[in-house]
């Protein structure tokens, strides 16, 4: 087959032949471009394109460019191929360049600030909507989405038990081991109970679980709501007269808010157990002694603070996850960006709220010696 695109110059005449298509040109693109440039550099030549087998638009653009964006004087070509070239010739001469914004620091910072403010605004609006939904549910309790609520409780609660237990156990062992090394030096072995009890129950348990849950359930919530936005499922819901906040957002937030204290309790328990084991091996502290002294060393207020933190963290994580989920625009890039933002914002906010807790409960539950 004479499929190879060829170009010959014979006595002032340029003859093109063969298949001038993208696929056929690709292997010898640079040669062809050079040859065309050479041929077009001499003016007043006749271009004979009657021997062309095929001319596709990629080749037509190439020809048109080498002619300097205008028709050559003597052009012999079949009508079919002339049409292809005419389409290229009809294109507007100046392509609009893609607009580029210069980077300016104040503009960038201002943009960030505005974005943060609009996120805050959106979060507050979602919170308000949530309160309205709760009020509505109080008046007509039959509409409570129990099924979704329990499903969320199971997914973000029960299914998170193995991973939180594993991480809790390892952290408990590590802290106990490291503290025991120090305490031994001072001969203050018994304080291991205070250290473990207070740090795990009051601080580490809730924060650790919050970080895990933000990565696990928070990202899942954002992605799920986001995909529902992408596939217009949310719109389908509202056309059926079903409130998206009542059916999609509320059960997620209530579910995680209810599940978090339970996971915190579970994870703290396992972490304490890990710490106890390490203390037994390292300091010869028996399990019975440890358990006997735990209530004395750690006032029960710490447990309540820990569980309270769990409750608040769960609420914050779910609220942020749902908010970013609803903000997803129908494209994959926005989905991934919002999922990332949801997790990062949730973890940051959790740590911020934890600091607030620390400040406001500084006089509560710390045993005075």
């Amino acid at each position: 087959m004479s499929s190879i695109p060829s170009l010959q110059v014979e006595s002032g005449k340029v003859v093109l032949a063969g298949q001038w298509t993208l696929a056929a040109m690709l292997p010898r693109l640079t040669d062809l471009q050079l040859a065309l440039k050479d041929a077009a550099s001499v003016p007043n030549r006749i271009w004979d394109l009657t021997a062309l087998a095929r001319l596709d638009s990629a080749a037509a653009v190439l020809l048109w460019r080498s002619w300097g964006n205008c028709w050559p004087e003597g052009l012999v070509i079949s009508d079919l191929h002339r049409q292809v070239l005419e389409r290229v010739a009809d294109l507007p001469r100046e392509m609009p360049p893609p607009p580029m914004r210069p980077f300016r620091v104040p503009e960038f910072l201002g943009g960030l600030l505005l974005k943060a403010l609009s996120n805050l605004h959106g979060l507050i609006a979602l919170f308000g909507q949530l309160l309205l939904d709760m009020a509505h549910l109080l008046r007509s309790p039959k509409e409570m989405p129990w099924k979704e609520f329990t499903a969320n409780l199971y997914k973000s609660g029960a299914q998170a038990m193995p991973v939180t237990a594993l991480v809790g156990f390892l952290i408990g062992v590590t802290i106990s081991y490291l503290s025991a090394l120090q305490l031994k030096n001072f001969g203050a072995d018994l304080f291991i109970i205070n250290i473990l009890g207070i740090s795990i129950i009051r601080e580490l348990g809730p924060v650790l679980v919050a970080v895990l849950v933000a990565g696990r359930s928070g990202s899942a919530m954002t992605a799920q709501i986001g995909v529902m936005r992408v596939t217009e499922e949310i719109d389908a819901l509202s056309t059926m007269g079903i409130s998206r906040s009542l059916r999609v957002v509320l059960p997620k937030i209530l579910g995680l808010t209810a599940a978090m204290p339970l996971i915190v309790l579970w994870a703290s328990g396992v972490a304490l157990f890990g710490g106890m084991l390490a203390a037994m091996l390292q300091l010869d502290l028996s399990l019975i002694y440890f358990l006997d002294n735990l209530p004395r060393a750690v006032p029960v207020a710490n447990l309540l603070i820990g569980l309270g933190k769990g409750l608040v963290f769960g609420f914050v994580i779910a609220l942020i996850a749902c908010y970013f989920g609803l903000r997803v625009k129908p494209n994959t890039e926005s989905l991934s960006a919002n999922t990332t933002s949801a997790v990062v914002t949730a973890i940051t906010t959790v740590i911020l709220v934890d600091a607030l807790f620390a400040v406001f409960t500084r006089h509560v539950g710390v045993p005075q010696l």
């Binding site: 993208l22 690709l26 001319l55 625009k329 994959t332």
Partner: protein, 250 residues
């Protein structure tokens, strides 16, 4: 005769325990415009996916341009794929890229064309499917259903394919656009000698474009041949599909 462009031999497709195709064979020659007909759920999209190599049939072989799609040679496979364009039933535009970038994407992937060339080609394709140059900035989510389809077609045409697979190209277009689409594809076909396989339920498109018709029913191709011959086949699906219009189309 040159090698057939598409050659399906003894194709079996099974989902779970359901047979979609059973011992299906079809040979499409160069330059043919084949309308693939069949009831909803008869496995037309599935057949196109098998031609693209997106789905491997349980049995049988698929050859494009004489190359078996199960050939392990990567370079050969890539070169075959560059010679075909596909318009998916639901568009399948890259949602994170603008219209312009969607069309430019396969061209940029070739890594031999300069930006000016690509930009002209993209604008050419946009003009071909009757979209403004200003539409290039839009994101796929900002397009209407018909525009979405036309951008998808422009992307399918970007690499100047020799084989074009169209899955319901005119569904969702208004009659005017649908006619323009038929004219455009017809013109391209005459200029470039394209081979086209299209799934369509639209009689107008079929009458305007197709040279051949293949009918998929009872899990195999029950009739394949020039349009006017297939229309006279005595099979409940064929008579039902063309119905009373059968005479008018001839």
């Amino acid at each position: 005769m040159s090698v057939p462009v598409v050659e399906l031999a003894g194709i079996n497709t099974v989902f779970g325990r359901e047979y979609v195709h059973r011992d299906l064979s079809l040979v499409i020659g160069e330059g043919q415009v084949v309308g693939l007909l069949g009831g909803s759920g008869s496995g037309k999209t599935t057949l196109l996916r098998e031609m693209l190599g997106l789905l491997r049939p349980a049995a049988g072989s698929v050859r494009l341009f004489g190359v078996d799609l199960q050939e392990p040679d990567q370079v050969l496979q890539r070169n075959v794929r560059r010679r075909l364009g596909m318009l998916f039933q639901h568009g399948a535009l890259f949602s994170a890229l603008s219209v312009f970038d969607n069309i430019a994407f396969p061209l940029r992937e070739l890594k031999c064309l300069d930006e000016d060339w690509i930009s002209r080609l993209v604008h050419l394709k946009l003009a071909m499917v009757e979209l403004d140059a200003s539409h290039g900035k839009l994101m796929p989510a900002e397009l209407s259903g018909g525009m979405f389809k036309r951008v998808a077609l422009a992307r399918a045409l970007a690499l100047e394919p020799e084989l074009l697979l169209l899955d319901e190209p005119t569904a969702g277009l208004d009659p005017d656009r649908s006619q323009n689409f038929v004219d455009l594809i017809g013109a391209l076909q005459r200029e470039l000698g394209l081979t086209i396989v299209m799934v369509t339920h639209d009689l107008q498109t079929l009458a305007g474009l197709a040279s051949h018709v293949a009918v998929l029913a009872e899990q195999r191709i029950i009739a394949f041949g020039p349009k006017d011959q297939v229309m006279t086949v005595d099979h409940p699906f064929v008579t039902g599909f063309f119905g009373a219009d059968r005479r008018k189309l001839l």
